[in-house]
């Protein structure tokens, strides 16, 4: 029986080490379901006991640690609830760090709180799964170019923290954040700095790893296209692309974006890895390992399924009934993330995905229906 968070993180640490993905072609999953379930149930008990808003939510559903025998019965809290409640077991004084969800202007962001120990837990989850997908060939040296502001400019962004963790963990000689923030704290890509940085890499022959959101790539590519310029990044360069557009640049279908990255930056689609993550989670899912053929590629949807690491599980449930969907069916993504130690492990996202044998495919905007109708609509309730 695990009684404290400290005990839990020790056990999780052991679990992660035992299920550490091997680099290269073989990414070993899934882990022993039994071990995962045991840890999940222990963590649920701890969180039920120490996160009041979550406990209230479980009580209303008549679910308690005593009544749950299977981790799949743990109630997932909607990601949106992070905007309204402090879903954390950390006292106000213990909260040394907070990640904010990116929201629309004027809306309260969701907040994920951390202390040093829970940040360590987050990083421990992040690094091995990142390495398995972005650095499967273990390059001795690579230049890191991040299309986001620096940690000093965006201290509450989980994506920026992720990049910073990667930078610190691998300690490469070259790294650069090439965006800033404007007066409203919106991210602004310094496109020319980005281009110059990439050109420097091209000149020196050092392969680079570019991390950025889809919209920051669109800005960078538009900037190159405006001057009709290309960069030919050295062989072994790779890209991690994440996140939606949220109205910050023109929308671009994924295959078109990847084609343009290949054409303008010289990084082939086989080296472009998509990441699925959110500030409410501590683990991330990826859709391929850089440089590897992706046998899982689905030609009809132009998608590859995403997978979380063995210490986080995704379930795709019917929005209509809440029941697990069958393979090939569409549903909402729930994530049970053991690395979410000090907040809530079970998260109900608002993202739709199609269940595949070995992961889930995100539903792109284009696959959703044509907007229609004359009734006023809004995305989020206040």
């Amino acid at each position: 029986m695990i009684r404290t968070f400290a005990e839990f993180t020790t056990r999780l640490d052991r679990f992660i080490r035992a299920n550490m993905p091997l680099s290269g072609n073989e990414i070993r999953t899934p882990a022993q379901d039994h071990d995962f379930g045991e840890l999940a149930l222990s963590l649920f008990a701890l969180q039920y006991g120490s996160v009041p808003a979550y406990r209230n939510f479980c009580d209303i559903r008549h679910v308690t640690p005593g009544s749950v025998a299977d981790w799949k019965q743990i109630p997932p809290v909607p990601a949106r609830a992070f905007k309204e409640f402090d879903l954390t077991s950390l006292s106000a004084a213990e909260r040394t760090h907070a990640f904010h969800s990116s929201g629309t202007t004027g809306q309260k962001p969701g907040r994920q709180f951390h202390d040093a120990a829970s940040l360590a837990c987050y990083e421990q989850s992040l690094v091995p799964w990142f390495r398995a997908h972005l650095l499967p060939d273990e390059p001795p040296e690579i230049g890191l170019v991040v299309l986001t502001p620096s940690p000093a400019d965006a201290p509450h962004s989980s994506l920026v923290h992720m990049a910073e963790t990667i930078r610190r963990s691998f300690n490469w000689r070259f790294s650069e954040f090439v965006a800033g923030v404007d007066a409203d704290n919106a991210w602004v890509l310094h496109s020319e700095v980005g281009v110059e940085t990439l050109r420097g890499a091209q000149g020196s022959g050092l392969p680079v790893l570019i991390l950025g959101t889809a919209f920051s790539f669109v800005h960078l590519l538009d900037h190159l296209a405006a001057g009709d310029r290309d960069v030919r990044l050295p062989d072994g360069s790779r890209v991690m692309e994440t996140g939606g557009y949220k109205g910050r640049s023109r929308m671009m279908p994924k295959d078109e974006l990847h084609e343009l990255i290949a054409r303008r930056l010289g990084v082939p689609p086989s080296h472009i890895v998509c990441e699925y993550g959110m500030s409410e989670l501590s683990s991330q899912a990826y859709d391929r390992a850089a440089g590897h053929r992706a046998p899982r590629f689905n030609a009809s949807t132009l998608q590859r399924p995403f997978r979380f690491p063995p210490w986080a599980r995704a379930r795709i449930v019917s929005p209509e009934t809440g029941m697990l969907v069958g393979e090939g069916e569409t549903g909402l993504i729930q994530v049970f993330d053991l690395a979410n130690a000090r907040s809530v492990m079970a998260i109900q996202t608002e993202d739709l995905a199609v269940l595949r044998a070995d992961g889930f495919e995100l539903m792109g905007r284009a696959q959703l229906a044509e907007p229609r109708g004359c009734s006023l609509m809004t995305a989020a309730p206040r």
């Binding site: 939510f57 809290v77 609830a81 209509e320 229906a369 044509e370 109708g373 004359c374 309730p381």
Partner: protein, 453 residues
């Protein structure tokens, strides 16, 4: 039953629509109008329309049967929902009602046939004729099947050639209506074209707009803005953008007997067309201080929704719409777990219906498909203050008020900026004579020719 390929929308899905098809169709429409429609008398057209409506009201009418059969797949509505919608719509399409519409809109039933005078015009020695546009283009929203039919009826009355562009997958009812016109009088149907494509295809829309004399657009504000940008300046655009509607129930009527009846009618308003139209309520403001409290009213409403689900089930909806409901429910569930100011009632094991009670009166837009908010207010003033965020965007307010307060409430709402008031239970059944978004229906289509003696 398979339909002959008479309209562009009849072509098989793999057939590509081209700019030249649009161009040719517009030329043909104009030519046919000149030949078959421009010289027709209003009365003969009204009689034809009455005849067609009569056909649609027959339970064994082949096109009606086809519409009901295909409805769940093509419109998303159950056969029962569509049947009651068809009955309610076509029973209003009679020569008498259409005459009344002409008199209301144009002052005289023969205004489109010859120079005529109202008594007022007579006294000032004037007469006038009204004429419809040569080619009237409609861009229809895809959410509800019937409003496009009303547009076609109005266009026919003013003797316009018409091109109806439907949203992708939303042409079934207009097509069947056009075929019913063809059956009765092929020459009239020859003045009509129906096509569907996903909005925004400039290569098709540009030739269409170049031929148009007047354009009506129903849809999202974004769609309207985009079409406005593309339209040649000479064209008058009649735009019907996004609107929201709500209900207001006074404390005087919240006795236990009346509250239950009102809850039944409100449930009908929510269920009608699965709440997808702009006349459907997002929210009900309930005055506090009645025998039945606002919270109790929410509970009564939930019971009525459950009852209605049995009689007129909502039916399946797209995954994204169900996801929107599931996400909101989960959010309110968390809120309700931590505060008595939020309560939630919902269908079991489905997203069929949801009632959210919140003590905070701030106006909240619904995600639709039978998801509604109930909020307490101390009076109408507080409701309107709370609804300031949607001011100018409200189509209909349904009211339940005693006689002695009704006029004052109506005037307050009118001055605040509401286009239509109606009793609870009638939100989705506007009169044939209603003025959509506060604007004249026939009146907005025509051009006047004045003659002074």
């Amino acid at each position: 039953m398979t339909l002959p390929n008479y309209f562009i929308a009849d072509l098989p899905p793999e057939a590509e629509i081209s700019a030249s098809m649009i161009h040719d169709a517009c030329l043909t429409l104009k030519r046919n109008r000149e030949r078959y429609l421009a010289g027709r008398s209003t009365q003969s057209l009204l009689e034809r329309l009455g005849e067609i409506a009569g056909n649609w009201l027959q339970p064994d009418y082949a096109l009606r049967k086809l519409a009901l059969e295909r409805s769940p797949r093509d419109t998303g509505f159950s056969p029962a929902t569509l049947a009651s919608g068809l009955d309610s719509f076509f029973s209003k399409i009679t020569p008498e009602n259409l005459n009344a519409l002409l008199v209301q809109e144009l002052g005289h039933a023969e205004r489109l046939d010859r120079f005529v005078s109202t008594p007022v015009e007579e006294r000032s020695g004037r007469s006038a004729l009204a004429a419809g546009p040569t080619l009237l283009v409609h861009v229809a929203a895809g959410n509800l099947p019937l409003p496009a039919l009303m547009s076609l009826v109005l266009g026919l009355i003013v003797r316009s050639a018409q091109f109806l562009k439907c949203a992708s997958g939303a042409s079934l009812l207009p097509r069947l209506f056009a075929h019913s016109l063809y059956e009765v009088e092929p020459k009239l149907a020859a003045c009509l074209e129906i096509a569907e494509w996903r909005g925004g295809r400039a290569e098709l829309e540009q030739p269409l707009f170049e031929h148009a004399d007047r354009v009506t657009v129903t849809g999202t504000d974004e769609t309207i803005a985009e079409i406005r940008r593309k339209l040649p300046a000479r064209i008058r655009l009649l735009d019907y953008g996004q609107r929201a509607s709500f209900g207001f129930i006074t404390r005087d009527l919240l006795t236990s007997h009346e509250a239950k009846q009102l809850a039944g009618k409100a449930a009908g308003d929510i269920a009608a067309w699965n709440q997808l139209g702009c006349l459907s309520p997002h929210l009900f403001y309930i005055e506090a201080g009645g025998v039945v409290s606002p919270e109790q009213f929410a509970e009564l409403l939930a019971a009525q929704m459950a009852r209605l689900e049995e009689a007129e089930p909502r039916g399946p909806i797209p995954a994204a719409d169900a996801a929107a409901i599931a996400s909101r429910r989960a959010f309110y569930e968390v809120r309700a777990a931590s505060s008595p100011d939020t309560r939630l009632w919902q269908s079991d094991d489905s997203t069929a219906w949801t009632i959210v009670y919140e003590a905070d009166p701030g106006f909240q837009l619904s995600c639709l498909n039978r998801f509604v908010y109930v909020k307490p207010v101390k009076d109408l003033g507080e409701a309107l203050h709370a609804a300031e965020t949607v001011r100018g965007k409200v189509s209909t307010v349904a009211i339940a008020a005693p006689e002695n307060r009704a006029q004052e409430i109506a005037i307050t709402l009118a001055r605040w900026g509401v286009a239509r008031l109606c009793p609870i239970g009638r939100m989705q059944q506007p009169s044939l004579l209603w003025r959509h978004d506060g604007r004249a229906s026939l009146g907005d289509l025509v051009t006047w020719i004045d003659c002074e003696r």
